[in-house]
Symmetry: C2
Amino acid sequence: METPVAEAEPARRTRPARPARRDNAAKIAGVPYIVRNIPTYDILGEENLVRIERVADRILSEVGIEFRDDPASLDHWKRAGAKVEGVLVRFEPGMLNEIVSAAPSQFTQHARNPARNVEIGGGNVVFSPAYGSPFVMDLDKGRRYGTLEDFRNFIKLAQSSPWLHHSGGTICEPVDIPVNKRHLDMVYSHVKYSDRPFMGSITAEERAEDSIDMARLVFGHDFVDRNCVILGNVNVNSPLVWDGTMTKSLRAYARANQAAVIVPFILGGAMGPVTNAGAIAQSYAETLAGCALTQLERKGAPVIFGNFLSSMSLRSGSPTFGTPEPAIGSMVIGQLARRLKLPLRCAGNFSNSKRPDAQAMQEGVMSMMSAVHCGANFILHSAGFLDGLLAMSYEKFVMDTDFCGALHSYLAGVVVDDNTLAMDAFLQVGPGSHFLGCDHTMRNYQTAFWDSALSDNEPFEKWSEEGGSTDMAARANGRWKKTLAEYEAPPLDVAIDEALTDYIAGRKSSMADAWY
Amino acid sequence: METPVAEAEPARRTRPARPARRDNAAKIAGVPYIVRNIPTYDILGEENLVRIERVADRILSEVGIEFRDDPASLDHWKRAGAKVEGVLVRFEPGMLNEIVSAAPSQFTQHARNPARNVEIGGGNVVFSPAYGSPFVMDLDKGRRYGTLEDFRNFIKLAQSSPWLHHSGGTICEPVDIPVNKRHLDMVYSHVKYSDRPFMGSITAEERAEDSIDMARLVFGHDFVDRNCVILGNVNVNSPLVWDGTMTKSLRAYARANQAAVIVPFILGGAMGPVTNAGAIAQSYAETLAGCALTQLERKGAPVIFGNFLSSMSLRSGSPTFGTPEPAIGSMVIGQLARRLKLPLRCAGNFSNSKRPDAQAMQEGVMSMMSAVHCGANFILHSAGFLDGLLAMSYEKFVMDTDFCGALHSYLAGVVVDDNTLAMDAFLQVGPGSHFLGCDHTMRNYQTAFWDSALSDNEPFEKWSEEGGSTDMAARANGRWKKTLAEYEAPPLDVAIDEALTDYIAGRKSSMADAWY
């Protein structure tokens, strides 16, 4: 057979986001986000996409979704015309699609440094650190619970990398801070140690409100009402249940005109069907309902269509990460999200390894490539993810940010113009010679190739005799320490800093510590 | 912007090659080759492809290619109407395209076990071991020159993997055997220790002839004249030079109706332009000329359009492997090869790492994914490649074959049918429950997910307390030893075995040892 040929001419539709070449030891520069110059990788045709959408319609209309412990959500659904029986809500086909059509297909998330603003949606790609691990690990001290110091270290490492675009959210849980107060320290740390966009808390409605209030102190109340400055990542309790904690936080973000990221986490065979097509249909239905709820709370509020497919070892029952089925499924999710014209969060640098080893990068790269191929606009978990998201690894973090750098070159695609076609070089060099010093090479070599800061490209002898025969993990260990030692905080307006610390002091003194 | 949407409905055009689930410790089974159920990833549109082809036309007509030390090749070109001046040959635009149109778009390479025959071309994918390293390495003994024992070990490891389809060729150089005789031992070893298809020598015309003669002893003279049973991988001496050693071997394979693989190795900035589009145009021109020469030697002989793009560290001048520019360039090569309707060899599991570490798999996976995305039909270097092809690694070999297993699942794509859509499961399970024991899961779990034999998916505590806190390299070290210990040779007809050993004895006694 001849494999089908896609038609795509991305070079004519978008500008390449080729990063300027820089020394690997140089201070951060980089682009604020990537404008992709390669098409998405679309693996299903119209007929199969429609079949999946029709099953999602049937799930929504015949089975329904429960919205627990949040009467205001049920009121929204009743007013919108859904069938509400107790906490079970069922939706006529097409109803949710109509509601989400009010959401923007692309929006700006503002950073306190406007040069770091990101565009989320369309052909834009934003890399953000991993999110939510209780543990951290490094090669020196092994695994232990994360602390606020670790949390701040990861913000500093992210801020120091030219290849990330976003400061993320709960990069690791700072378990040394009470559960009901740590969101205050986390949001403050993002503002203090990074000048990039960031995420707030979603673990309780009041913590979401606190996060947004702190953003208002940074950006101003009116500005926040008109612009997105903070994201909140909310999870479906799959299958087909939205918990009140999540919908209340989701509505808090939407109400403030901030963007909720709507993410089912489906472990195939447990929280969804063991087959990809069914898991995708379920995920689509759950996300669509969450996205629609944001629009009922505030029509036109930004929202991100999110996804996190995973698989299971059927020998051990353990979840698996960075495996082929979720990677290939992500491409279908991307196609479906684009049919809804919603920005997409999908996949990331996932792994189940407990070390920054070959498994970590084999799984991570397969998964991360699916994120960029599927057209994800906001790629949470771009760096640091190990042990099935239970641990943030210092070494993996810098390996992953280095790989994010490679993806900047990858997403720049193949530029075809008179310069890159190099006809002048062929006429100058001719058969049997070399291109090392020709005019074309001299004109282009500085921007030609990605040059990793962590890969060893020396000859074996030099690597073994001068380089200490290191592996990448050992080099990464040295690199994160050097980066932290050299870190300098971006300047922060003193009045804003004081307003935030006053706010935090007030909130902390208003409630007793809670540890659950 | 909205990213362009490709139209592709591969599920309706091809049958999925979903492998049957098997225990990881089980004897080899697997499919003889993969029939892809996902489209190729096409990143350039018609206009840019034509621009690259037009530059290739100009290279061929204005600059030309030298064919050195092979007057018979020059005679072919003269008869075909090319402009020959000394050893420089120039071609009118379209001339070579017309000549290669006689080559088959797909052909069968026969194995001595017919159940292992492979289809090369179309939507088929064949994984073959890496090729050509002088060194081997493992975690116990480090790096040393390869021997015939190593060579045979890698054949045995390949034969034992259900995820490779081909026995390869010069997997490593057996440097303990004289240069002018080692091809005899290599071809014999492929026949003796594997029942899969394999490759012969190309380092001298008489060694190519020996390889083909030995294949005739296995398959019969007439059968070989009518069918492809052996491949020869020939390299362009880029830029724009074909050496006589290579063209004589190329013609020997074509004359015998066997398939030459035509491969430029272009290190951008050295043997070709430092920009991707120009390197692609050059590579296309060089390969097209080689493919055409096979058709002038014997019209209709099978031939494979090959490619090996690489990049360079402009800090150190070292070649780099597994980097983003060659990976993305491979997708364009694939589009161009399909326009010629020729089977494609492109990319592989490349790395510059000197260890089976995170770098090895980060680079390897990026590169190997490009091979499957670009539509490569024959993927040489699917397993074992380290240190920029200078060393075959025992550990990386089994890591890579495991990853080839994952790619079987990846290339099976997302199957969309009533079973996989799982509507019955949603109706049975409903909101808030789980799918672990539902009918749909019980019906599908055995074939649901790829289960790696090398990734550790256990919880951290079990991994550290019972599993010895291993990394993937350590597990791979145990696995290749166990596999070799359990290896059993496939049965070989005694008469064929004797004919081969007699042939080798006769050839070896006919010439003195040569070590260069």
